[in-house]
């Protein structure tokens, strides 16, 4: 436009690419295909500009049009998805949340995902204490005595176990009715807790994370019962709150106008050290 420096909006010297990227961003975050007009309106770009940019993005496989003409993520995104496991990607997005929970609780934090009949831990933030849970990445644990597993059971992400429920400690829930009562409570409370059920002296608390189609995984903390048992409720609330933030990232179309990390940092109003500045 007329003003040459134009600080704030355009950084560096890359207007076209920035605008094109904004279009891609909108399309990828959207739950359903976006029309030309929606994109044009949303970005505020001139129709002609939008048209040219979208044509370029389509030509380069970053975007694609579905049968009804709406824009969706293109073959390049499909290729990426085909080449990489989705869970590590979720873990990547979840890392900031896990980190925050780790900082606020001091305990080990996990992201638990369903695999087959069990729950596996991907992504982990270490406890600040010396006594803490070991590295559980990739370790299979019986879901019925794990907080993460119970959450996944409760929200139907993991099929309920077929056989007998293994007894790990004398506090392990082995009765099917007791389990289903617990699961109902978890659905009601919004989080799950296990105290000495997997291993004596080991406790855990977990809350569900929702994707676009409901619960997909869970985050939770685990540590010594001595440190956790009096904070179950407090940590439970923290977890549900942070899990919600992650859910918003994973499921909601996101009115974010900015980046993923910006969204993540936005959850707590106190961390606005730099709100929105252009050149460093």
């Amino acid at each position: 436009m007329s003003s040459s420096p134009a600080p704030g909006s355009t950084q560096g010297g890359t207007q076209a690419v920035d605008r094109a990227a904004a279009l891609v961003d909108l399309v990828v975050r959207a739950a359903e295909p976006l029309s030309f007009t929606e994109l044009s309106d949303e970005t505020g770009l001139a129709r002609s500009t939008t048209s040219r940019l979208l044509a370029a993005l389509e030509r380069t496989d970053l975007l694609e049009r579905d049968a009804s003409g709406g824009y969706v993520a293109g073959p390049l995104f499909a290729l990426h998805a085909a080449l990489h496991d989705p869970w590590p990607q979720v873990a990547r997005l979840a890392r900031p949340v896990l980190q925050r929970v780790g900082e606020l609780t001091g305990e080990t934090v996990h992201l638990g995902v369903p695999r087959g009949q069990g729950v596996v831990h991907v992504g982990q933030v270490e406890s600040t204490f010396l006594l803490s849970a070991r590295d559980w990445n990739q370790v299979d644990v019986p879901p019925h005595c794990s907080a993460l597993g119970k959450v996944l059971y409760a929200f139907g992400v993991l099929p309920l176990p077929a056989g007998r429920l293994e007894r790990r400690t004398d506090r392990t829930v082995t009765s099917r009715e007791a389990l289903s009562t617990q699961l109902a409570a978890i659905r009601r409370e919004g989080y799950a807790a296990t105290v000495d059920e997997l291993e004596t002296g080991l406790s855990a608390i977990a809350a569900p994370v929702e994707g676009r189609d409901g619960v997909i995984c869970a985050i939770g903390v685990s540590g010594p019962t001595a440190r956790l048992q009096d904070r179950v409720d407090q940590i439970g609330r923290l977890l549900t709150q942070q899990a919600d933030a992650l859910s918003a990232l994973l499921g909601r179309p996101g009115r974010t106008s900015r980046s993923v990390s910006a969204t993540l940092h936005e959850t707590h109003p106190r961390t606005h050290s730099r709100t929105k500045e252009g050149v460093a």
Copy 2:
């Protein structure tokens, strides 16, 4: 009408976006993180231009730098992968291939992927005949009497069954030795066939599709034995050939069919401390 003869490579009026997209394309297709210099050389862009574009792409979450400074697909790709099942994405990429096989054979074509202990069909191209296999999407079939399943067994994508091999017809292979002999033959020939083994009168032929780390799924045709039994070899060759084309799409890096120069600089083998997060 364009009076000026299209300047060779760039079309429309979108040089910057095209170049940026080429960078993203290279990064997404690459098996490992690409360095700034590799990208600059590969695209033939001036270093300054490359720097500016990469900075813009990073700012917009399309790209990201890993711990060692290499460029990898950014949070936007992670988000997409987290939101969508990978197999439908593979199916999307495979559709043209399936379609071609369907046109050339007239039979029903499937993409078979492993899930748990079984094989499921995602993506299907209908037969042109009236008598044809039903819609098998989402249907579980015993892999040992399915051509797709045998391929997945043969190439270690699916764990060999634990218990007894179910007898579906009198031609079903139920002996473990006979099965492993067949699997060896499949590895030798490059394709699998089942004739009346799942259901009397039903035959199928299938070939493996490779991803970045070996076989990941399979494509195959199925139809009445009457129409297929004399074409097993011919269709087998067709399938291996088309499966190869799909494999190239899913595994091989580069080859963007546009401006990128054909010469590919091999990366010098160095000691990387990167964590491999691909397929487990």
